[in-house]
């Protein structure tokens, strides 16, 4: 299981989540000796955060789920299954049904960013020393660096819906050329309407044809149904949790936002179901019991994040709740509009179309489509429906798409909802750009003005 450097990241994460389980009292077996080095890499306040009573159950579910997913990946690598890297705006049911090993490209950086003191900085620095500028998106940079360093399995195929994000499109091209792996790009239409969706379904079908050739398997209806049903379970919980966050006070802890994004990328795997189920049960119980996630005596500050969670400090979100009573209602990187719904499992065609619809509505993809009205209207609606007290726009420095419309968004919310806005720059995977101390300073100032 531990053969070769290409399992290095997987091994690190496995040790990390196993020590998480240990710390949470769910693992009695001693940790192996190699763990010492890894333990030294983990952010100390992350341990504090997961040990908080309100966070323990979900933290354990995360550790269990990630541990199982890593076991699944290792097993498939042992079986020499072809590795299919996919973009963080789709779910892997089709790839699972084709017996490929799907790994989300961006998670290679994201999981490291969220756990370690130095995040995925080594990966970022490695690719930057190849000449990639610091203003390209770190969500691809960390993983690309790791692939160059040989710390993750090489791609056999790359799948990229070509949403309007040049940096990511180019980096997948780079990966394809560097690792000599075919790149399946599917064209994404400009608009968000029926005609555009029809086109998108056609592209998904084209992707399936290409994946069938590469995997050597044809897409089997029964197999696909099995994975889609599992995916639907996770999606159902996710949509319900979203609804629960409309409650006052918000019953769902803020630090789940980045991990929601991570686990939704595993839809089709049971690990995603157990994660979302736990999050849902906790939130539901709080609503039923009238329990709050913010300390007693603090007034809730309900925040809608038009942009976005940063992945390098989960404890920071916990701090927002504990220090300021600030709850995190919704994020552009986690928001599925309610009309996303579930996939119809009647036939192979309804399933393909249903999956295409989900990917069409996927957070960030949907908002990057069409004109700014999609993003702006989504957030005016979110601020109203979720009863937000303020809009926070922590724009990712590499996201030109966001920065091009940031003022339209803040103006619209100010005018139509009448709530204050905060705009600042950060890098969602690289702590060095806007460190946690600076983030806290920014938040301290902002909340004092409300």
């Amino acid at each position: 299981m531990k053969e070769g450097k290409e399992r290095e990241l997987l091994n690190r994460w496995k040790t990390t989540v196993e020590s998480g389980k240990f710390v949470l009292g769910a693992r009695t077996q001693a940790l192996p000796d190699e763990s010492i080095e890894i333990l030294g890499m983990i952010q100390p306040d992350l341990t504090d955060t997961i040990l908080q009573p309100k966070n323990r159950r979900v933290a354990l579910a995360q550790c269990d789920s990630l541990s199982e997913y890593i076991d699944f990946v290792n097993k498939k690598l042992d079986e020499r299954k072809k590795v299919a890297y996919y973009y963080f705006c789709m779910s892997p049911e089709i790839m699972l049904a084709l017996d490929l090993l799907p790994i989300c490209y961006e998670l290679l950086g994201g999981i490291s960013a969220g756990n370690y003191i130095h995040g995925c900085e080594d990966g970022i620095d490695r690719i930057e020393s190849e000449g990639y500028p610091d203003h390209l998106c770190a969500t691809q940079k960390g993983p690309s660096g790791y692939l160059l360093m040989g710390l993750a399995p090489k791609p056999d195929v790359l799948v990229k819906p070509a949403w309007g994000c040049d940096p990511s499109n180019r980096m997948y091209e780079w990966a394809s050329v560097t690792f000599d792996a075919p790149l399946i790009t599917f064209e994404v239409p400009y608009y968000f309407n029926e005609r555009a969706f029809r086109f998108f379904v056609g592209e998904v079908k084209r992707m399936i044809e290409q994946l069938e050739k590469i995997s050597g398997n044809s897409l089997d209806e029964e197999k696909l149904r099995e994975y889609v049903k599992i995916g639907n379970q996770a999606m159902e919980y996710l949509l319900k949790i979203q609804e629960l966050r409309k409650e006052v006070p918000c019953p769902d802890p803020a630090w789940h936002r980045p991990t929601d994004s991570a686990f939704s990328l595993l839809m089709g795997r049971p690990e995603a179901v157990s994660y979302f189920k736990t999050v849902y049960e906790d939130a539901k119980k709080r609503v039923e019991k009238g329990e709050s996630i913010i300390p007693e005596g603090k007034k809730e500050i309900r925040c809608a994040w038009g942009y976005a969670w940063q992945g390098f400090s989960l404890p920071f979100f916990n701090w927002l709740e504990e220090e300021h009573g600030a709850t995190y209602l919704e994020c552009v990187l986690t928001y599925f509009p309610p009309f996303t719904g579930l996939v119809d499992t009647t036939s192979i065609d309804t399933m393909i179309e249903g999956l295409a619809w989900r990917w069409f509505c996927w957070p960030m993809s949907r908002q990057s489509a069409s004109f700014s009205d999609v993003w702006v209207n989504d957030f005016v609606r979110i601020c109203e429906d979720f009863k937000a007290d303020c809009l926070i726009l922590g724009g990712h420095k590499a996201c030109k798409h966001f920065w091009a419309l940031n003022k339209l968004l803040s103006d619209a919310v100010k005018e139509e909802v009448g709530i204050p806005t905060l705009r600042f720059e950060q890098d969602i995977f690289d702590a060095r750009f806007t460190p946690v101390s600076e983030l806290k300073r920014i938040m301290n100032t902002f909340f004092a003005t409300l």
């Binding site: 620095d125 000449g131 500028p133």
Partner: protein, 258 residues
């Protein structure tokens, strides 16, 4: 055959005279109001040390901020190439040169022949340049060349929070009024300098061996902090003043071009 290189920077001007493969003489002066005045003075001093006259020079290359305004130069070359070439000639294993000038700082990657592969430069912000240290030395009330030795005696460097020279100056002024130890402040300043340099160096990546050129190379505290921040050894130019490396590189190009 005799070759010369002249490097006119924003704060100092340097000249190097070479005969075939050896350095005959060199000079280092504070700049005059106009680049051609600085170049002439630097060159005159180097010539007189070598007991030569301008006519003896077969070819002269100028570099630096004022390089296009030197009348006695046969041609001019960017200081990036000159620093890379000069450093590599002294220590052929060098692959990364960090040049810290009066008003800029650069990171230069060179190949095994000393040719420039890649570079990154900051000439917009004074933090990370010689000016920053000048301001800090003045604020602490010490001579610039005493800043390094003062810093290395510290056991508990202060934490500098800001990134702008003016803001840091204010921060240090406050620390002085709070009675903080001068060597601790000097050490904190050296660390801040290394951090600012790191943002530039990162852009090209570090390949060993690494060397620092420019006046700030003589600040032992900055160099020590840079080693720590970059995580690599930094080689010293034992017999050659790191401030003349640019002029040396220019002289080497002069030999090539003649």
């Amino acid at each position: 055959m005799i070759f010369a290189g002249c490097d006119v920077g924003s704060l100092t001007a340097k000249a190097v005279i070479m005969e075939e493969d050896s350095i005959v003489s060199s000079s280092l002066i504070r700049v005059r109001p106009r680049p051609e005045q600085s170049a002439k003075e630097a060159m005159d001093i180097a010539l007189s040390k070598a007991e030569l006259s301008l006519e003896d020079i077969n070819y002269c290359v100028s570099t630096g901020y004022g390089r296009e305004m030197i009348p006695f130069a046969n041609s001019n070359i960017s200081e990036l190439s000159c620093h890379g070439r000069g450093a590599h000639w002294v220590i052929p294993s060098i692959r990364t040169v960090i040049d810290i000038g009066g008003q800029d700082c650069k990171a230069i990657r060179v190949d095994e022949r000393g040719n420039m592969l890649n570079f990154a430069m900051n000439d917009k912000c004074s933090a990370g340049t010689g000016r920053f240290l000048e301001i800090m030395a003045k604020t602490l009330g010490v001579d610039l060349d005493k800043l390094g030795p003062l810093a290395v005696t510290s056991k508990t460097p202060v934490d500098v929070i800001n990134v702008c020279s003016v803001f840091i100056q204010f921060e240090v002024m406050c620390m002085i009024s709070e009675g903080k130890n001068r060597s601790d402040m000097a050490a904190g300043i050296a660390r801040a300098m290394a951090d600012r340099l790191n943002t530039i160096v990162k852009k090209v990546g570090v390949e060993e061996d690494v060397a620092v050129t420019g006046g700030v190379a003589k600040n032992v505290a900055v160099v020590n902090n840079l080693k720590e921040v970059l995580g690599v050894e930094i080689l010293e130019f034992k017999e050659i003043d790191p401030q003349i490396i640019g002029a040396l590189g220019a002289a080497l190009f002069a030999k090539e071009r003649s």
